[in-house]
């Protein structure tokens, strides 16, 4: 089959690889009809996530048709021919984490738990196409994928919704939603979202759906801010204005009640010297993150507010504003999304028209053009917000 693979730092390559096979009894094989490039794929390609290997099949946002099921998948759960969206965290459904619906912390799905434990203190779940730290599972930017614990994760789509309407249930819509849900939004809340990429856009839409009074989008790309504005959110361009001052203006001097970091480890900063400080420390590996968005969110949030982190961090950062966090009673909440927890309720919100996930799609390319897709997405060319790939 054809698959998009990691080919070293800053390089992906679509290659011929063997077709996936059933390895465990509860596996299924899915013929992929739509897949997508995620912002977190860029962290892998840019070389900021350790344990990637040449030839790793990338991609953790995919859906398609079940073409084979293992002997351990009960027929009432999944059958050949079912149309499914596959959640990016692989979860067994049986451990204490899964029982607590903390699927991205599944205790059994990562065969490389020993590596993850050294990096993170305790292991994390397996994730498709997302380094060997999270299991070394081949990903979904391919014609076929092997899906472990197929009786737990995949969501069957039984209505006539298009792939584009449901594909993002695999990751970015639930991720954005969890970012908003962790904010415990009240009707009087102003919610500021750092990053108007795909996850940020969905965090904004989710904050609105959950009843926020006002939602603010912070980014530097005019087209991304316009996209947020068209969806009813208030844009702030950090290259044009001082973010903290603008947020004070927009909130009567209080600061946003809830702040969402939808940027993560590769943030840009309006001030060149601060950007250079973290960029150099990252380059010499004395910190793994450029946490500008997180720092700014903590400094901007009103006292007693919540800072919710859904942007991806992989290692260690410095200059963390612990003083602001502690002295002003901020709550910091975070997590890789527990996608399985949100798929059904969000499918209902899509069906009812409350959320339109298709609004962020700017590019649809054949799988063979994945390399070009990564290029335009990474460099924000051609007003690129989200690339869908068709195998």
């Amino acid at each position: 089959m054809r698959a998009n693979t990691w080919a070293g730092r800053n390089k992906v390559e679509v290659r011929d690889v063997p077709d996936p096979k059933i390895l465990n009894k509860r596996d299924a094989i899915v013929r992929i009809t739509s897949t997508a490039i995620c912002g977190s794929d860029l962290h892998l390609v840019d070389g900021y996530v350790p344990t990637m290997q040449n030839g790793d099949v990338m991609g953790h946002e995919f859906m398609g048709e079940v073409v084979e099921v293992g002997s351990g998948v009960p027929g009432d759960k999944l059958r050949v021919g079912d149309r499914v969206v596959v959640p990016f965290p692989i979860a067994c459904g049986a451990c204490a984490a899964c029982a607590a619906e903390l699927y991205s912390c599944c205790e059994n799905s990562n065969p490389n738990a020993g590596i993850a434990e050294k990096m993170f203190g305790h292991p994390v779940a397996g994730i498709f196409g997302y380094s060997h730290l999270t299991g070394g599972f081949a990903g979904g930017q391919a014609q076929y994928a092997r899906v472990p614990f197929a009786d737990v994760g995949p969501l069957k789509i039984e209505s006539d919704l298009t792939d584009e309407q449901v594909l993002f249930l695999s990751d970015i819509l639930p991720t954005g939603y969890m970012g908003a849900e962790m904010c415990d939004i009240q009707p009087s809340d102003v919610v500021a979202v750092w990053g108007a990429g795909p996850v940020g856009q969905f965090a904004m839409d989710s904050a609105r759906v959950l009843g926020a009074a006002k939602v603010i989008a912070i980014d530097k790309e005019p087209y991304r801010l316009q996209m947020a504005e068209r969806a009813g959110h208030t844009p702030v361009n950090f290259e044009e204005v001082d973010v903290r001052s603008r947020l004070l203006e927009l909130t009567g001097g209080r600061g946003p009640d809830k702040c969402i970091d939808a940027v993560g480890m590769e943030a840009s900063h309006g001030a060149a010297h601060i950007h250079a400080y973290d960029r150099i420390k990252q380059a010499v590996r004395s910190e793994t993150e450029r946490p500008h968005a997180l720092r700014q969110a903590i400094m901007s949030c009103r006292s007693g507010g919540v800072v919710s982190v859904i942007g991806v961090y992989g290692g260690f950062l410095d200059k963390f504003p612990a003083g602001a966090w502690m002295n002003r009673s901020l709550t910091l909440r975070t997590g890789q999304c527990h996608v399985q927890r949100y798929m059904r309720p969000l499918l209902q919100r899509i069906e009812s028209g409350e959320i339109d996930p298709t609004r962020i799609i700017t590019h649809t390319l054949p799988l063979d053009e994945a390399e070009r897709g990564f290029e335009i997405f990474k460099n924000k060319q051609d007003n690129c917000e989200k690339v869908v790939l068709k195998p």
């Binding site: 089959m1 698959a3 693979t5 690889v17 063997p18 077709d19 996936p20 096979k21 390895l23 465990n24 009894k25 509860r26 344990t51 290997q53 040449n54 030839g55 790793d56 099949v57 351990g72 067994c92 049986a94 451990c95 204490a96 029982a99 205790e107 059994n108 799905s109 990562n110 065969p111 490389n112 738990a113 020993g114 590596i115 397996g126 196409g129 060997h132 299991g135 070394g136 599972f137 081949a138 990903g139 076929y144 092997r146 472990p148 614990f149």
Partner: protein, 180 residues
């Protein structure tokens, strides 16, 4: 050398105890074992796998046992690598799970066998037992040792990184199978 490790398994103590007490199950999750056979009420015969050096076999006997709570065993006098173990099955505070607490001791000899055993345990001896218990948890909670494309060999996966690429297996690789 004494190794200790613990894991929590979401199954009742009686079930985890029964699984461990059926000695034949040990090689499904313990990387250094090829085969364990029950030979009597309290006796068993153990065969080490390749990582522990070839042709290392020994007999063991249970020296202390409380059903559902504890098993303690030791190798009998003529073992190449004299060893002993104790496993306790303690109800976890959540009321549904079992804390499995293991202590293994090895009396590592000189010569080729001792060298192979020392190499197997390497610089971080406890890692092997930690990984064994992770697989025990996988088997009891999910039914099998979990395999990925990058780490497809189950308990034979000795090397953490670099591994095989995270790319589907070819037919010939698949034919090698996972365990044993």
């Amino acid at each position: 050398m004494e190794l200790t490790a613990a894991t929590t398994i979401r199954k009742p103590p009686s079930e985890v105890y029964r699984f461990w007490r059926s000695w034949e199950n040990l090689p499904t999750f313990m990387a250094h074992l090829e085969e364990v056979r029950t030979t009597g009420d309290r006796t068993s015969h153990w065969v080490a796998g390749a990582p522990f050096g070839k042709d290392v076999e020994w007999d063991a006997e249970i020296v202390d046992e409380a059903p559902g709570e504890k098993i303690a065993w030791r190798s009998t006098s003529d073992a190449d690598v004299p060893n002993a173990g104790t496993v306790r099955f303690v109800p976890a505070p959540d009321g549904v799970s079992t804390e499995v607490q293991v202590v293994l001791t090895y009396d590592i000899p000189g010569g080729a066998v001792g060298k192979a055993v020392a190499k197997y345990f390497g610089e971080e001896p406890h890692q092997q037992l930690d990984d064994d218990l992770r697989r025990l948890k996988q088997v009891l909670e999910t039914g099998e040792v979990v395999r990925s494309d990058g780490a497809p060999w189950g308990k034979r996966a000795r090397k953490e990184f670099p591994q095989r690429p995270a790319q589907p297996l070819s037919d010939s690789e698949l034919a090698k199978g996972a365990d044993q």
